[in-house]
């Protein structure tokens, strides 16, 4: 009984600890600037106003431009969605080949590919810049899609490979005897089994790519910058009064899509992450 009280007290404390920043962000974003100046940080907004949100979305200044976050929000969407889909698709094919169509050295290749999971962003900046120049990719969106697909491949391949290793190889053999080829087997037999791991890969990649700042700031320019870079510019704009409510609203806007993806598909995430580990 006492043990339970302690556990629950602890859990509640930890909950508060984690949720407090979010609470402060939301409540601050709904306050007016006057109220922020006079009131306490953790007080609820006396007079709820969405002005800060509208300003953050529509007219806040990020550097010299004052058009809010909206343009950058769509910038991010424009490269995040293709990057997530392409890296997931290639990861799935890679995993399929590395488990069901093994060849001499395929395990070695997989081990080498895994090194990619441990390489920090900073290390690849210069080589990547050279590669992009060499390939002549000038368009910001294309550049970011390319960079994130390449960087994400190691992870998506790992996910799919570890998932497919628990799929019985006999399924593929049976399909081969039934007369199906490489892509037919993938499309008709393997992919329908892969929903949980596809969801995992999409959540992971979406969160990684959406939240990325470093690649965004290095490989993009001007109006085409992703939302993370824009948020940084907005918060660091030094002209005029510091508008905490607008900063908070902008930060929440920048975080909403990943939150949304997690809420919608989160239960698959936990299920999918363990699916590879336990033979199911």
């Amino acid at each position: 009984m006492l043990g339970q009280v302690i556990i629950y007290t602890l859990l509640i404390l930890v909950c508060i600890y984690y949720l407090l920043p979010l609470f402060v962000m939301v409540s601050t974003s709904l306050k007016s600037l006057d109220e922020i100046r006079t009131g306490s940080l953790i007080a609820l907004p006396g007079d709820v106003t969405f002005a800060a949100w509208i300003k953050a979305w529509d007219s806040a200044c990020t550097g010299v431009q004052c058009q809010g976050m909206k343009g950058y929000f769509w910038n991010s969407m424009r490269f995040v969605i293709p990057a997530v889909l392409i890296s997931t698709a290639i990861g799935a094919i890679n995993g399929y080949v590395l488990t069901m169509w093994r060849f001499k050295g395929s395990d070695m290749l997989f081990s080498l590919l895994m090194i990619g999971c441990f390489i920090p962003f900073q290390v690849v900046l210069l080589p990547m810049a050279r590669t992009l120049g060499w390939l002549g990719i000038a368009n910001t969106t294309t550049r970011l899609v390319f960079v994130h697909v390449v960087y994400g491949l190691a992870f998506t391949t790992l996910f799919f490979r570890n998932f497919y290793i628990s799929v019985p190889e006999e399924l593929v053999k049976a399909a081969k005897i039934d007369g199906a080829g490489f892509f037919k087997i993938f499309w008709r037999i393997i992919l329908p089994l892969s929903i949980p791991i596809i969801v995992v890969s999409i959540i992971w990649q979406f969160t990684q790519i959406w939240n990325d700042f470093l690649f965004g700031v290095v490989f993009s320019s001007g109006e085409r910058q992703p939302i993370t870079v824009a948020l940084n510019n907005l918060v660091n704009t030094s002209t005029g009064v510091k508008e905490y409510n607008v900063d908070m609203a902008a930060a929440i806007i920048a975080a909403l899509p990943t939150l949304f993806v997690y809420v919608v598909a989160g239960k698959y995430f936990v299920r999918g992450l363990t699916a590879g580990a336990v033979k199911g």
């Binding site: 019985p168 006999e170 399924l171 053999k173 049976a174 399909a175 081969k176 005897i177 039934d178 007369g179 199906a180 037919k184 008709r188 037999i189 329908p192 089994l193």
Partner: protein
């Protein structure tokens, strides 16, 4: 030209030889069993027939086509796997029709075939279920249905019954045999279970360590084993192997046995010409439990019948028979007697040995002598 010819087939992974020159030939409609302990290469051989594994050297013919280089789909075969390998995302109908669909069989034709197959296997009511909603036996049946639907010239079965419980296994065994009689197709069937091998096969290839130890009908393999391994592998309870000296007995030759200090010599009769040169040396006598029974007065006096009074060490009733364990030359020996006549631990019992089917092995090479 037979339905399946395997000629000098070898398989090696680097230095490791998995199959060391396999030769098997069967006729159309025959049921071939590949049997042996795990690791003997039987499944590898099946994979090579299916085209899922490459051949290091040698030739495999299906009908009169050399299939060495053909991909699985062009070999006109169907395979039933140990895990059934049903496509989990498709219904039973989808599973059966998948191969037909890939081969571009028209839709209405597909439906007809699925219906016919479902009828043969009595699973019409299961057609719209997913594999996960089926029991082990039903999955097994679907896997067979998928194979039948394609109407191939050769069926391959890879230990199809080993995932079922004992009762179901016997049922499905009968069903496979019936199916074979009904469709009359050539079947290659891999198992490690010697009872399945005996009951199902027209021909049995007993394999060990990448070699065919013996190839023949079930009765040949059982009655006339080529070596000690085959003799010990086939039959349950296993054949008794007793090391015994060969001695001269009157004008003939006999083997000398001992129980509880009593020594007796059994003439070897038909094996005499081959064992004459072994007098003074030891051989391994192989005698099956059913050839040692309680004394039956009506048979005493027949030329191959010998009897001896032995002390019983253990009795194991199985129902129809009781297994009685005695010691011969210090070796546990199982005898199969009628339950009414069985004696118990410590008692003595008059036993009758039928030496007509006794076999003899060289203790060193373990090859059959006579």
């Amino acid at each position: 030209m037979g339905a399946l010819s395997i000629r000098a087939v070898r398989k090696a992974y680097g230095q490791v030889e998995i199959l060391k020159g396999i030769n098997i030939e069967i006729e159309a409609g025959e049921f071939l069993i590949l049997v042996g302990p795990s690791g003997c290469g039987k499944s590898t051989l099946l994979s090579m027939i299916a085209g899922l594994d490459t051949i290091t050297s040698g030739d495999i013919y299906i009908g009169d086509r050399l299939v060495n280089k053909l991909s699985p789909k062009d070999r006109d075969i169907a395979m039933v796997f140990q895990s059934y390998a049903l496509y989990p995302n498709m219904t039973v109908r989808g599973n059966i029709a998948f191969g037909l669909e890939i081969r571009k069989v028209p839709k209405n034709e597909q439906d007809k075939i699925v219906q016919r197959v479902a009828q043969i296997l009595q699973m019409e009511h299961l057609l719209d279920r997913k594999p996960s909603q089926l029991s082990g036996g039903q999955r097994q049946r679907v896997a067979m249905g998928r194979a039948i639907a394609r109407d191939p010239t050769l069926f391959l079965f890879d230990e199809p019954l080993s995932n079922l419980d004992a009762k179901l296994r016997v049922e499905m065994r009968t069903e496979i045999k019936l199916l074979h009689q009904r469709v009359g197709k050539t079947i290659v069937y891999v198992t490690h279970d010697q009872i399945e091998a005996m009951t199902l096969g027209d021909k049995i290839a007993v394999m060990k360590a990448g070699e065919v130890q013996q190839f023949g009908t079930p009765q040949q393999v059982y009655d006339d084993p080529a070596n000690l391994f085959v003799a010990s592998f086939m039959g349950s309870p296993s054949m008794n192997f007793i090391t015994c000296p060969v001695v001269s007995a009157g004008s003939g030759v006999g083997v000398q046995l001992e129980n509880e200090g009593n020594t007796f010599v059994f003439p070897v009769n038909h094996a005499e010409p081959k064992l004459r040169s072994w007098v003074g040396k030891e051989v391994i006598l192989g005698i099956r439990p059913e050839q040692i029974t309680h004394k039956n007065e009506s048979r005493v006096g027949e030329p191959h019948i010998q009897s001896a009074n032995c002390k019983v060490e253990l009795t194991e009733p199985t129902g129809p028979d009781t297994l009685v364990v005695i010691h011969l030359n210090g070796k546990e020996t199982v005898c199969r007697v009628h339950p009414m006549h069985a004696k118990f631990h410590g008692e003595r019992m008059e036993l009758m040995f039928d030496m007509a089917k006794a076999v003899y092995f060289d203790p060193k090479t373990e090859q059959r002598l006579a």
